[in-house]
């Protein structure tokens, strides 16, 4: 018998909400306490970017977990986690455009052209945007088979984001590589099934 029942599902979802929002509360308090080091702008951008990446991995891990432990209902938390991932990605982008570039659109376009890692980030963001827009059930029903095709692009996003991360830092490939390996592992799990 699966542990996750329809009665328990709302509790799990509530827990996910809390878990996903807590780091944002933490971030807000850290900004208030000026505890983000000398360059808080970069710290905030990285924090949100990493949050999005962590949630992307969390989204990918749900269905292998559900299969492995025969907890079918777990799948129904995937959309929630995925939407939080998108939410963090939006905040990450807003933080970049606002705190770093000060909404200077000309500068944003210039940066877009000059920084390959930003293309990668933007591609991943557009994918997440499309997935979020098509996440309501009625859209899914309308799209029929195309929905799955579109949503498979999450794998592309999952591959692009660690590269985006890697290219954005001066040196320090270890953490991005850890992320990349996790993605590869999760994808290989997917391939088997």
């Amino acid at each position: 018998m699966p542990m996750l029942t329809y009665q328990r599902l709302p509790y799990l979802k509530a827990y996910i909400h809390v878990l996903a929002i807590m780091p944002l509360v933490y971030l807000g308090l850290a900004i208030d306490a000026d505890a983000l080091g000398g360059d808080p702008v970069q710290a905030v951008i990285h924090f949100l970017g990493k949050g999005a990446l962590n949630l992307l991995l969390a989204t990918l891990v749900i269905s292998p977990l559900a299969k492995r432990y025969k907890e079918g209902l777990l799948i129904s938390t995937r959309r929630l986690v995925g939407l939080y991932c998108f939410f963090y990605a939006v905040l990450h982008l807003v933080a970049f455009a606002w705190l770093d570039l000060g909404w200077d659109i000309a500068l944003l376009l210039e940066e877009l052209v000059k920084r390959p890692y930003i293309w990668l980030g933007m591609i991943a963001f557009i994918i997440l945007l499309l997935l979020a827009l098509t996440s309501p059930m009625w859209v899914r029903r309308k799209m029929k088979r195309n929905w799955q095709k579109l949503h498979n692009f999450i794998y592309l996003a999952a591959i692009l984001t660690p590269v985006h991360y890697y290219l954005s830092v001066k040196s320090g490939w270890i953490e991005p590589i850890i992320y990349a390996l996790l993605v590869v592992f999760l994808l290989s799990q997917r391939r088997k099934s």
Binding site: L19, A20, M22, P23, V25, Y26, L27, L29, A30, I31, D32, A33, D34, A35, L36, G37, G38, D39, P40, V41, Q42, A43, V44, H46, F47, K50, G51, N54, L55, L99, D100, L101, G102, D104, L107, E110, E111, K114, R115, P116, Y117, L167, S168, V169, K170, S171, G172, I174, E175, P176, I178
Partner: protein
């Protein structure tokens, strides 16, 4: 080779340093406890939020959560002693200084960890006394200096310089020190002296980044840097022994470091133990790691982008809040073109990055 004594006699060797370890540091005495309290609270909260996020920006953070930074933090903060200055000169056009707190907490010093906040955390027990700095190579008189000698090479003056990091952020910092040329002249360079090489202390026991490639970003140690002789002799090129009127904090490169205001910050090698004059261009740390990204010259140049990001603008780390941070245009040679552009006449600066 001459001894310390001879150097002191040769130089304007007055005792300039006045040391008073009991004196409280000038850091925001009132605000600090409040911040500490809030930070303590955040740390506790941070443990609760493990599931999602890693708070600090760079790579060491994934595992920080498990270790907790309390262990690494030291109870005894490094003591910076006041320095007596012969004068102060502003080379930054009256721009607002970066607050001392940020100069002390936002550092690239991979010997103490790759995250910007690691050096402050991990360097507090760093020992600068005793210290030995040697000037060797293509010189008539090799020089060996001890810790106290570092402050007697020349009159100590304060210079306010812009500091532009290759990562596209910048600060305005009041350095204390003297022109590098002062010490080079004392060693009497021979005609073979075409370049100057510098070396940071190698001491993995004190520098955890040298002991662990995870913490230190897998650079080759010790850190080495270099300048062409005319760059080294330029009056703006400075050996710094202090900031904000006090001896350097270890995370800023105590006890002595290089400051070349028209070059990217990574040229400013820290905690120097060796200055070596030579005929050929010396290998330099970042250049060896990625020569396309970090050139030997590394002159600040808004027209030449880093292969992965633009160098046209920079984020000035100032005194304002996170919401008042602004980007400013990067200037050729970091605003020191008038003084130094002639050094590179006839050189293609797109090629010699």
């Amino acid at each position: 080779m001459i001894t310390i004594w001879e150097v002191n006699q040769a130089g304007n060797g007055m005792i300039i340093k006045c040391k008073n370890k009991s004196q409280a540091s000038e850091n925001d005495v009132i605000a600090e406890p409040v911040y500490q309290q809030r930070r303590q609270f955040l740390k506790q909260l941070g443990l609760a939020g493990v599931g999602l996020a890693a708070a600090s920006p760079a790579q060491a953070s994934i595992f920080d959560i498990f270790s907790g930074d309390d262990k690494k933090a030291s109870n005894n903060a490094f003591v910076q002693s006041p320095l007596k200055l012969s004068g102060s000169k502003d080379y930054a056009n009256g721009e607002i200084w970066t607050p001392e707190k940020k100069v002390l907490s936002h550092n690239n010093y991979y010997e103490f960890g790759t995250s910007k906040t690691d050096p402050q955390k991990n360097a507090q027990n760093f020992k600068v006394e005793p210290w030995t700095l040697t000037i060797t190579g293509a010189v008539e008189k090799e020089i060996t200096l001890g810790y106290d000698d570092l402050f007697k090479i020349a009159d100590l003056e304060e210079r306010i310089y812009r500091m532009r990091c290759v990562e596209a952020w910048s600060m305005v910092i009041p350095w204390t020190g003297f022109s590098l040329s002062e010490i080079i002249k004392k060693a009497n360079p021979t005609s073979k002296a075409k370049y100057v090489a510098f070396e940071t202390l190698y001491d993995p026991q004190q520098m955890p980044g040298q002991a662990s490639s995870y913490l230190g970003g897998s650079l080759d140690w010790p850190y080495v840097e270099g300048l062409r002789m005319d760059e080294a002799m330029h009056p703006l090129t400075m050996l710094s022994v202090g900031t904000f009127g006090k001896t350097l904090a270890p995370q800023n490169g105590a006890p002595i470091r290089l400051v070349v205001p028209w070059k990217y910050g990574f040229k400013g090698i820290k905690s120097i133990v060796k200055i070596h004059l030579l005929e050929k261009e010396p290998p330099t740390t970042w250049n060896r790691l990625a020569s396309r990204e970090y050139g030997f010259y590394a002159n600040v140049n808004p027209a030449v982008d880093h292969p992965r990001w633009s160098q046209a603008s920079e984020r000035r780390i100032g005194s304002g809040s996170i919401f008042s941070s602004k980007r400013i245009k990067t200037l050729p040679f970091n605003g020191y073109a008038e003084e130094v552009a002639s050094l590179y006449q006839g050189m293609d600066l797109k090629r010699y990055i």
